[in-house]
């Protein structure tokens, strides 16, 4: 097979690349991670590189002006290697490691709500506890598109030993599920993604083991709750069937496999088990959340909302359940937002604005100084700015309004939550106009999904007895503010309940109780899957929801 020499500047690394490979992939072999929200489809236009030597035909895209095209700028994912090349990689095309910090963060173990949910669960793990180990531990793993959370659970006592979160390293191969699937369809893509998932998980485990002073051998079982795509990628199964319409070739049930085979660095013979899923976009993370909120045991109608990168919604009670999913994007988990971050120490989780001239009052996880803003803080900020007329109904910053905290950064109008130095902040913390538009789309996707679902079962929102919010938005989510921007249905505040990371709890329950594991199988069987991507009314509801609070 023919190959060419490709040299990457400014690093100066060089190698032989097979003819026809993309420059993007060639860069990856050197560990040069280019930006690419679309996962190399040629649509996002972020992976621009400059060809300094060698022939390479133009790759038309709106992000490359004719002038830049003449000077050799190309899209790395569309440019093919058909000649010896010297490629210059501009810094703005590199995946910014500062904005996405992949390092695992140990989270607080204190979680009263979780303990309440687990209270009354007599530990009866789905395997016999070996007598030789003093403190047998189980691993509960929430495998999210954007965030991965791991927790060590004491299988005898039933308590949480430690917990940590990190961004999923697959983020570099596309921020949403569809771009991950298309990435997996490239040659070698699936293996690459599986490797990134394992790296993320094993890094988390190493961090937790160090923190809790335990070894791999102490972890004798693992439960994974993840969406259908993430589990496919984790197991190295071809996910391309997931996005192929109604004839879904997706697997929703998975047998237990030994950790050695899964590639998870715990006891090599420990079984790795999976929460069962319902359909292509309603996976084990959702069924686990439903188990945690006990919808399947209640008479009253419960609305369960998991606001992750894919928003999943389940409506029902002990007699019937219906589930659907909508694409919300990773904004609430802090990705793609100017000062966004995961709900971890340093994240602003609460924002109160009383006086527009003064700095807003903040709630920061673990106390000041703030490092960024997480989902619940973003919802607060939107609602407060809307109340004060700084944010329009269509999510645009009102540049004309006299507010000293409105400024400009990188050519975009922004609202400054904290300026550098204020309350010891190490840098400016702000959201810009594009961020607010992203948040508007996120809230609209969830709002439209809820409205479509209610219409589908001909239920009035007022008949919902309880609304359970799960996800990694942050503990401090303010239902009143979420209602104010229209994301949640307008119901009395006492009907709302935030349960935090529902999938992790569900995985916990599976670890601690064989019975709950059986109940989870039944839940997966009973949820009726509503496909919004082919639903005729969804798109219209979505456009009507791109307005604060709603067009009606």
């Amino acid at each position: 097979m023919k190959s060419f020499r490709v040299k990457f500047l400014p690093l100066g690394v060089e190698s032989r690349v097979a003819a026809g490979a993309s420059v993007y992939d060639a860069a990856l072999t050197h560990g040069i991670q280019l930006r690419g929200e679309c996962g190399g489809l040629g649509s996002c236009g972020q992976c621009v590189v400059k060809i300094d030597a060698g022939a390479c035909p133009p790759t038309p895209h709106a992000s490359i002006t004719p002038d830049r095209e003449r000077r050799g700028y190309r899209l790395a994912c569309a440019a093919r290697v058909e000649d010896d090349l010297v490629v210059f990689v501009p810094e703005e095309s590199l995946l910014p490691s500062a904005s996405v910090d992949y390092a695992a963060v140990v989270l607080s173990e204190d979680d009263r709500k979780r303990d309440r949910a687990l209270a009354g669960v007599e530990p009866s793990p789905p395997l016999n506890l070996p007598p030789g180990i003093a403190r047998p531990l189980g691993l509960a793993l929430d495998l999210g598109t954007t965030t991965v959370v791991a927790e060590f659970v004491n299988l005898r006592a039933g308590n949480c030993v430690s917990r940590a979160a990190a961004y999923n390293r697959q983020l570099s191969c596309g921020t949403d599920i569809i771009s991950r699937i298309t990435y997996a369809e490239r040659p070698g893509g699936l293996e690459w993604l599986r490797g990134l998932a394992l790296e993320t998980i094993n890094d988390l485990l190493a961090r937790l083991m160090e923190h809790s002073r335990v070894g791999p051998g102490d972890l004798i079982i693992a439960i994974v709750a993840g969406n259908t795509t993430m589990v496919h990628l984790f197991l190295g199964m071809d996910p391309s069937g997931i996005r192929l319409g109604s004839f879904t070739a997706a697997h929703t049930r998975y047998p237990a496999i030994p950790a050695r085979e899964a590639g998870v660095k715990i006891d090599p013979l420990a079984p790795v088990m999976f929460a069962p899923g319902v359909g292509s976009y309603v996976g084990g993370d959702v069924t686990a959340g439903v188990l945690a909120c006990r919808m399947h045991e209640c008479d009253e109608v419960t609305l369960f909302i998991d606001a992750g990168t894919n928003g999943e919604i389940v409506l029902g009670n002990r007699e019937w359940m219906m589930g659907c999913a909508c694409s919300t994007g990773p904004a609430f988990e802090g990705v793609g937002i100017a000062s966004g971050m995961i709900a971890a120490p340093g994240a602003i989780e609460e924002v109160h604005i009383r006086d527009l001239d003064a700095a807003p009052r903040l709630g920061v996880i673990g106390g000041a100084p703030a490092r960024g803003i997480c989902g619940s803080g973003m919802i607060d900020l939107m609602a407060e700015l809307f109340r004060h007329g700084i944010l329009d109904r269509n999510g645009a910053l009102n540049a004309g309004s006299r507010c000293p905290r409105l400024a400009e950064r990188d050519g975009h109008p922004v609202y400054l939550v904290r300026t550098r130095g204020e309350d010891c902040a190490a840098r400016d913390i702000y959201l810009n106009d594009v961020d607010f538009k992203k948040l508007l789309r996120t809230k609209a996707a969830i709002q439209a999904a809820i409205r479509t679902m209610l219409k589908n079962v001909e239920l009035d929102a007022r008949e919902i007895g309880r609304v359970v919010i799960a996800g990694r938005l942050g503990e401090a989510i303010d239902a009143g503010n979420a209602i104010a921007i229209g994301m949640l249905p307008d119901l009395p505040l006492e009907r709302f309940d935030y349960i935090g990371n529902g999938s992790l709890w569900g995985a916990n329950l599976m670890l601690l109780s064989k019975e709950r594991g059986v109940a989870l199988e039944a839940i997966a069987d009973r949820i009726t899957y509503l496909d919004l991507s082919t639903h005729p009314g969804y798109m219209e509801e979505y456009v009507a929801s791109l307005f604060i609070p709603h067009t009606d």
């Binding site: 109904r393 269509n394 004309g400 219209e540 456009v543 009507a544 791109l546 307005f547 067009t551």
Partner: protein, 331 residues
């Protein structure tokens, strides 16, 4: 035209509740008694039933056709539609006088396309000068169409709004991304505003809410739902207009504005009006084809609820005027 099933259901409901709500009456142009210099003013809208359903409500005002007058030589117009105006291409003042004096135009639409940076790049001052001379020598009410979204739009329309203070002109167009300046100018100098959204019921209502949030009166807003010419997506506009109208008549105050459709600019750019006979002999005479295309598009939009039509060809305008006469006859 096929109606989607949901519209049929709405339609039956309206039939039973007709008379409950009406479309706003919008008055264009101020006479001397109203603080302007127009010879007369024009009212559109006001109906409380579906278009031309005289048997279930009242339609106080007939739809009105505005004649399109470009501010610069329209080199992109095809020969068929340039033909009738050969004597005054590039002389918008004489052009406007001719259509008013000789063709009986009661409303003109001054298209300030020459201000576009990619065209003649005329300054706001040049646009204002032309507007002043037209206001002086042409007595009919006016629609002023800016150069289109972009930074030039605000400057030109604001300057024109000031120059035409008190004349109650219709300014086109405000869009969701950029509406505040135009609405503020219309409010300050006593004009009306076209609210343009891309063929969508929800987006249309959203812009109307945004404009009313600026305390701009609803009876000074006209909806442009955007359209294509016949064969170029007209049916989408048709059902969107129908749905907006049905919602308006069932009492939604944020949908009760009259409609404007820019028919001429859409029709005269499609392939079917341009291709010569030699190339497509079975399509028949190019001249007739173009005129028929404009007529069919306009008449379809009238049935969807159009209150204002901006048109180009005098023959097409004459036929559509006669069609409106017929449609406005009761019984």
């Amino acid at each position: 035209m096929l109606l989607p099933a949901t519209d049929v259901i709405y339609y039956t409901t309206i039939m039973n509740n007709s008379g409950a709500s009406a479309i706003n009456t919008v008055r264009i142009g101020n006479t001397s008694s109203e603080g302007g210099t127009r010879a007369f003013s024009i009212e559109v809208g006001g109906g409380n039933c579906l278009p031309f359903h005289h048997f279930e409500g009242t339609i106080p005002h007939r739809p009105v056709i505005a004649w399109e007058i470009p501010d610069v030589r329209p080199d992109d117009w095809c020969d068929t539609v340039k033909g009738p105006y050969l004597d005054f291409l590039g002389d918008p003042l004489r052009w406007a006088r001719c259509v008013v004096d000789e063709k009986g135009a009661r409303l003109i639409c001054l298209d300030l396309r020459g201000a576009r940076p990619d065209r003649e790049n005329r300054s706001a001052a040049q646009s204002v000068e032309l507007l002043r001379s037209i206001l002086k020598s042409v007595p009919v009410p006016l629609i002023i169409r800016g150069p289109g979204p972009g930074e030039r739009q605000n400057g030109v329309l604001t300057a024109c709004a000031e120059a035409a203070q008190g004349e109650r002109c219709l300014l086109a167009s405000a869009v969701a991304e950029e509406y505040k300046t135009i609405v503020a100018a219309a409010a300050a100098y006593g004009h009306l505003v076209v609210a343009e959204t891309p063929i969508d019921v929800n987006l249309c209502k959203q812009l109307n809410i945004l404009i009313s949030d600026l305390h701009f009166p609803a009876d000074r807003v006209v909806i442009d739902p955007l359209t294509g010419g016949l064969g170029y997506g007209l049916e989408y506009t048709y059902s969107v207009m129908e749905r907006i109208r049905l919602q308006a008549l069932s009492g939604d105050g944020m949908m009760q504005m009259p409609f404007i459709n820019f028919v001429g600019p859409e029709v005269w750019k499609v392939k079917e009006v341009k291709v010569p006979e030699q190339k497509e002999p079975q399509w028949g005479s190019r001249a007739e084809r173009g005129v028929l295309w404009e007529i069919s598009t306009a008449v379809a939009l009238l049935h969807a609820g159009a209150d204002l039509l901006v048109m180009r060809h005098p023959e097409a305008i004459a036929v559509v005027e006669r069609t409106i006469d017929g449609l406005m006859k009761k019984g």
